[in-house]
Amino acid sequence: MSRTDHAEAGDAVDGIVLDQVERLLAQHLTPALLAACDGAAGAAAWPADLWAALAESGLPLALVPEAEGGIGLTATTAAQLIRRCGRAALPLPLPETVAGAALWAAAGGQAGDDALSLVPGGSPVRIAPHADGFVLDGRAAQVPWGGSVPALLLDAVDAAGVPHLVRVTAPGTLRDTHHDLAGEPRDTLDLTGRTVPADDVRTAPGWAAEAGVPSVDSVGAWVRAQQMVGALETCLGSALDHAQERQQFGRPLAKFQAIQHMLAEAAGHVAAATAAADLAAACWSDPRFVLATAVAKARCGEAAGHVAAIGHQIHGAMGFTQEHPLHRATRRLWSWRDEFGSDALWQERIGRAVCAGGGAALWPMLVRLRGGAG
């Protein structure tokens, strides 16, 4: 096959996978199931049937190369998959699993199709050699579905301060559980004394980690940025529909100039957030990954607040209730923008890098970030 044929065959597979995700989500994510999984409204359920259906389709390994047993989607398509999960408010860590499995495979690990969660690096776990493997010390805090998943991926630091990428299976003791603003579980697990075999400790690939930025945090931020694009699309789409359907003062809301301007402003934020997340998607496994992810998390996080506020303003009191589905998007936006590093944290990292380089280095950096020669 020529290069073009390959690309077209790849596009066809990508299209099939995305259609399949869309179909599975539409079929399973009924209002009743979403309500049952909403921990803010009571005890959260783990929708096991839905996970089984997703796993059966091979989706957990979507971004793992074919040679290593995955589907081998491009990162751009995997990002589209994650955005669809974000659009539909999927209450499962499929996005974390897709990216985590690919990171683990890139570090030379053998990825399985079980659910995998990512441990934010807020309070570092320590690691030390022990018998045939290693022993951990510390807590994994704020872990999405940490109490439900069979495996976690985390960055741990040894006595010399060297970071390691660690997979912890059957993570065990739940110390604390609570829910984010969207009602998704964010659990704390005690890992002190847990031993892991040598095979489950790796060096993260250089593109995923940079000085001071743990690899799991950067991959988690990448995931949240792509999810936020999906939720932003849902929020804007719902506001546009509502503005056209809802009549006030004898005409649809959409005919009021003030409403049009609010929606145009929201569209600008969605467009800019999408452009930033597209860039980060294109930079997966590239030396630009951490910086592009920083830009995407910062820009999507900034858009989240504006678009959620406009979405609610347009929907009026109706959107302020659990009876209207808008909250599934906006509560996630308010949670995701602060997870795996807030937009301010990522902005600070970008700002420190830019200031360290000086004004003359900024333009070449921007050109390189977009894929040029700097």
Binding site: E233, A254, A272, A276, D278, V295, W346, R349, C355, W363
Partner: protein, 383 residues
């Protein structure tokens, strides 16, 4: 579902290859002291700079070789454009001709007009102004009242134009005038003409901007004669032409890089060890700018493919102008100085002063923010 897909593909190799040549030209210009980056902007009129840029092959990149151009892609031109902006080069004597008037004449002008004007544009020796706005019309172009009446092989124009950038220095205006009735949608009866500023019957009144700089003008036409060969497009087709032209005017990096040199001076002034406030706000601006560069390159790619992405272009301008307006406001919060145009030797203070006084124009030129939001709302299906 409204989703925006801005291609994150890198620019093609031939476009990236052009970067080295434009940088070499700009380095030589700076080394020779031909411009001081923070004191000039892309609207700064410098005829000698434009002639040297033309000689270096940096103008008329997309125009055909038959008319003195270089027959390159729009993305090559995009790279040259963004490098000029990032360098703070004074492009005012060729910018409008290169960005919109030249391409319009190529697509819709007569052969005589193309032969007479395009080679001069490519040499950097022919400056254009935009003759759209009129007193009392503002962004409402359908309100244009300047009238052209046919007289044999000529048209006779009476009326006036306003906010015409560098009208006192340009060779031509591409003017939108009324030649017929507006019709029910108000978009009819408008026609574009190339008007020669050296012909009799035109007078120019300077309008000083907030910094005391003379860039704007009001232009008066009194029985001003234009040959029919200088008509651009069919009689009455003006609305469609300016709509198309505005997609080029609205989506370029000149809609968010106007004060890029202030950002550079700010980073240098903060120094390598920012406090947290400075780091966060600088990073926030850079994240916004990176997204805009991606959006703008995507739209350039669509324009290059012959698509006229009206809504995406309007989004670039709306988001881009918001960014441009915010930069001086953020800069003054990060570094406490008193801005001034008359203190030399403090590039940050000078740049902040200049940009603060120029910034109100960013959300006006090329269509006000409010008009742009109407265009976006239409694209979203709201009107």
């Amino acid at each position: 579902m409204h989703s925006f897909r801005f291609s994150a593909e890198p620019l093609p190799p031939e476009a990236e290859a052009a970067r080295a040549s434009v940088r070499a030209f700009l380095d030589a210009e700076r080394a020779a002291g031909h411009f001081v980056p923070h004191r000039t902007s892309w609207t700064t009129f410098d005829a000698a700079f434009s002639r040297r840029a033309g000689a270096a092959g940096l103008i008329g990149l997309t125009l055909p070789e038959a008319y003195g151009g270089h027959g390159r892609s729009g993305l090559v031109r995009f790279v040259v454009t963004e490098e000029m902006l990032a360098a703070g080069a004074p492009c005012g004597a060729h910018w409008i001709a290169d960005r919109q008037s030249g391409p319009q004449i190529l697509r819709h002008g007569t052969e005589a007009a193309k032969r007479a004007i395009l080679p001069r544009i490519c040499r950097g020796d022919c400056a254009f102004g935009i003759g759209m706005s009129e007193p009392n019309s503002g962004s409402d172009l359908a309100a244009v009242r300047t009238r052209a009446v046919r007289d044999g092989d000529d048209w006779v124009i009476n009326g006036s134009k306003i906010w015409t950038t560098n009208a006192h220095q340009v060779d031509y205006l591409l003017a939108l005038v009324r030649t017929g009735e507006p019709g029910p949608d108000r978009h009819g009866g408008l026609t574009q003409f190339i008007v020669d500023m050296a012909a009799p019957g035109v007078t120019v009144r300077p309008i000083l901007d907030l910094s005391g700089h003379h860039e704007f003008n009001e232009v008066f036409f009194t029985d001003y004669r234009v040959p029919d060969a200088m008509r651009v497009g069919a009689e009455g087709a003006g609305w469609g032409l300016v709509t198309e032209e505005l997609a080029f005017e609205r989506s370029g990096p000149d809609r968010f890089l106007s004060d890029y040199r202030l950002l550079v001076e700010l980073v240098d002034r903060i120094g390598p060890e920012p406090d947290r406030f400075q780091a966060v706000e600088t990073g926030r601006m850079v994240a916004q700018l990176t997204a805009l560069l991606g959006m703008s390159a995507s739209v350039a790619r669509l324009l290059d493919q012959g698509v006229v992405p009206g809504v995406e272009a309007a989004l670039v301008k709306d988001v881009g102008n918001g960014f441009e307006r915010a930069v001086p406001e953020i800069a003054r919060r990060l570094v406490p100085v008193e801005p001034s145009l008359t203190v030399q030797g403090d590039a940050f203070r000078e740049a902040l002063g200049g940009v603060t006084l120029r910034a109100p124009s960013f959300t006006l030129r090329g269509g006000t923010r409010e008009v742009l939001r109407g265009v976006i709302a239409r694209g979203l299906g709201l009107r």
